[in-house]
């Protein structure tokens, strides 16, 4: 179980980005973290994995616990060794290394076949320099890479970013498989709310660094505000400008 309690995240030295955020990721589940740009999804993931230190950010209040141990502000490589692997946004891979070398970096299983089981496409490409892969292949490589670190928890940051719908479908099926067959807990930050809610068990909706809403995926999916603002369905019946304005004001005050 990964548990964030009332955390506050501050960037360089006093820009508070996240305030009083609490969330739980129970073992074996897929938990989605939804929200638009700038909501704080990536920041939250980075604070868990410790990568945030590279951006001069730190957890200034609250605690992050993993299996009963406090991991807030621990250095990234130590967090990774505890079994939390972060697949960063924007398909971060080592572009100059070959696919095979990418898979071997860091904590890595000697048996690379696990990666090829989930992503058979990578096997054909294994001797190619990773910078030459297509976007979808790079994302597969990034996830496969983390997979070889034998994670207990995987933090996925916008895996669907900039990929074609068909590839996103395939990717999300694989994520579900990784969760079920690999028995790996997943915290998934996504803007693509529909796709994320399809595979998630539980979801949190983040806005301006706060959690606005949380609940079982099905419930979140039926929520009118989520449908309108995150899925862009716009069928919530809130048609007039006045109604939208009133809604926004209410949201602002509640936050």
């Amino acid at each position: 179980m990964l548990r964030l309690t009332n955390i506050e995240i501050t960037y360089d030295p006093f820009i508070v980005v996240i305030r009083g955020l609490s969330l739980q990721v129970p073992r074996g589940q897929i938990v989605a973290l939804l929200g638009s740009n700038g909501a704080g999804k990536s920041t939250t993931l980075k604070s868990i994995s410790g990568v945030i230190a590279a951006e001069r950010g730190r957890v200034t209040r609250g605690t992050i616990e993993f299996e009963g141990e406090r991991i807030d502000n621990l250095s990234a490589d130590k967090v990774a060794k505890l079994g939390i692997l972060h697949v960063m946004e924007g398909r971060r891979i080592f572009r100059e290394l070959t696919v095979l070398e990418n898979l071997k970096v860091g904590l890595s299983d000697d048996d690379i076949s696990t990666a090829f089981d989930f992503f058979p496409r990578l096997k054909e490409l294994k001797d190619l320099r990773a910078g030459y892969l297509s976007g979808g292949e790079q994302q597969m490589l990034a996830i496969a890479r983390a997979l070889l670190g034998r994670p207990k928890v995987m933090l996925l940051d916008e895996p669907s970013l900039g990929l074609a719908p068909s590839i996103i479908n395939e990717l999300f099926k694989t994520i579900r498989r990784i969760n079920e067959e690999g028995n790996i807990t997943i915290l998934l930050a996504e803007q693509n709310a529909i796709k994320a809610l399809e595979i998630a068990d539980y979801a949190y909706v983040l806005e301006n660094g706060r959690i606005m809403l949380d609940g079982q995926s099905q419930d979140i999916m039926r929520n009118r505000d989520v449908q309108e603002f995150l899925m862009g369905l716009g069928e919530s019946g809130r048609k007039s400008f006045r109604e939208v304005k009133a809604y926004k004001r209410r949201k602002r005050w509640l936050s």
């Binding site: 994995s49 590279a54 990234a76 490589d77 990774a80 071997k104 860091g106 910078g131 670190g149």
Partner: protein, 299 residues
């Protein structure tokens, strides 16, 4: 000029290439730091100087046996790596590389000062003196030190190449060089990686220090000027390539030989200027250096 025959020319080229291998261990030291952290180490000359001084201390003052003295010197300079990592570079971990590059300038200045405090400014005896007898291969006559340095460089390069390609730490270095934050997120201990890189660099610089001071016959801050050529060699060869470090060093060595040959007809200083001219031409044709990896930029 008219008397220049084929044998003399061959001899000049070979001697130049061998002089190049004299620079090679230092270029490699420079190269390995760049490769593991993308830091251009402006303290490389000082590492060379310190290496030579430490070698002097251990071979001349401490141990009477040359081999033991050199071993001790290598161990001692090897400790410099973790020391620099902990004291100077750790606070800059995963920060902009530029900051670390500037810090190496400061590091260089303080190492220079420290070395003058400890060893003074008067030239000291070279830790190893090479036999004055030149080595003859057929009609070609070569200084013995060049032959030793060629041998040492070959060994160093082979070991390093194997290290990069076959070991986990070598792979971690290449990965950390490309993206430190990502490497850390994957569980690579970047602190160890950087400390190792500096250790290898310091040891390699010590080897260079022993060889170069053997050529000059003394240890003094003059070695710092030699180190300037190494930056050029590293850039020409390709900053991130082991083979490139050697090739670049050899090119500079050959350039110096040819420049020296032409110096009487062109003008004083041409010996030092000609390698830079060569470097300029290479950079125009291959901006990444002779063997440097071209960055993959997909737009």
């Amino acid at each position: 000029m008219a008397t220049l025959d084929l044998i003399t020319l061959t001899q000049i080229l070979i001697a130049g290439a061998l002089t190049g291998t004299l620079y090679a261990p230092l270029t490699l030291g420079f190269n390995i730091i760049y490769r593991s952290s993308r830091v251009v180490n402006f303290a490389q000359g000082e590492l060379l100087l310190i290496g030579a001084y430490v070698a002097y201390t251990f071979t001349v003052l401490v141990a009477s046996n040359l081999i033991i003295g050199l071993m001790l010197a290598i161990i001692a300079t090897g400790l410099v790596g973790p020391l620099i990592e902990r004291a100077v570079l750790r606070p800059l971990l995963a920060r902009p590389v530029f900051a670390a590059i500037l810090v190496t300038i400061g590091l260089g200045i303080s190492l220079q000062g420290t070395s003058q405090l400890i060893w003074g400014v008067t030239p000291l005896a070279a830790p190893v003196s090479f036999p004055a007898e030149p080595i003859r291969i057929g009609p070609i006559i070569l200084p013995s030190v060049s032959v030793y340095s060629a041998l040492v460089s070959t060994i160093l390069v082979s070991v390093l190449l194997l290290f990069y390609q076959k070991t986990k730490l070598g792979l971690s270095m290449r990965a950390a060089g490309e993206d430190q934050a990502l490497a850390m997120a994957l569980g690579v201990n970047v602190r160890t990686v950087i400390a190792t890189a500096w250790t290898i660099s310091a040891v390699s610089s010590t080897v260079a220090g022993v060889l170069l001071s053997g050529v000059f016959g003394f240890v003094s801050y003059y070695l710092l000027f030699v180190a300037l050529r190494v930056y050029v060699a590293a850039i020409v060869g390709g900053l991130d390539s082991v083979g490139g470090a050697i090739l670049g060093s050899i090119l500079i060595g050959v350039g110096e030989s040819i420049g020296g040959l032409l110096e009487p007809s062109v003008g004083p200083g041409f010996r030092d200027a000609f390698p830079l001219l060569l470097a300029l031409i290479v950079m125009m044709i291959r901006p990444y250096g002779l063997l440097g990896t071209e960055r993959i930029e997909r737009i």
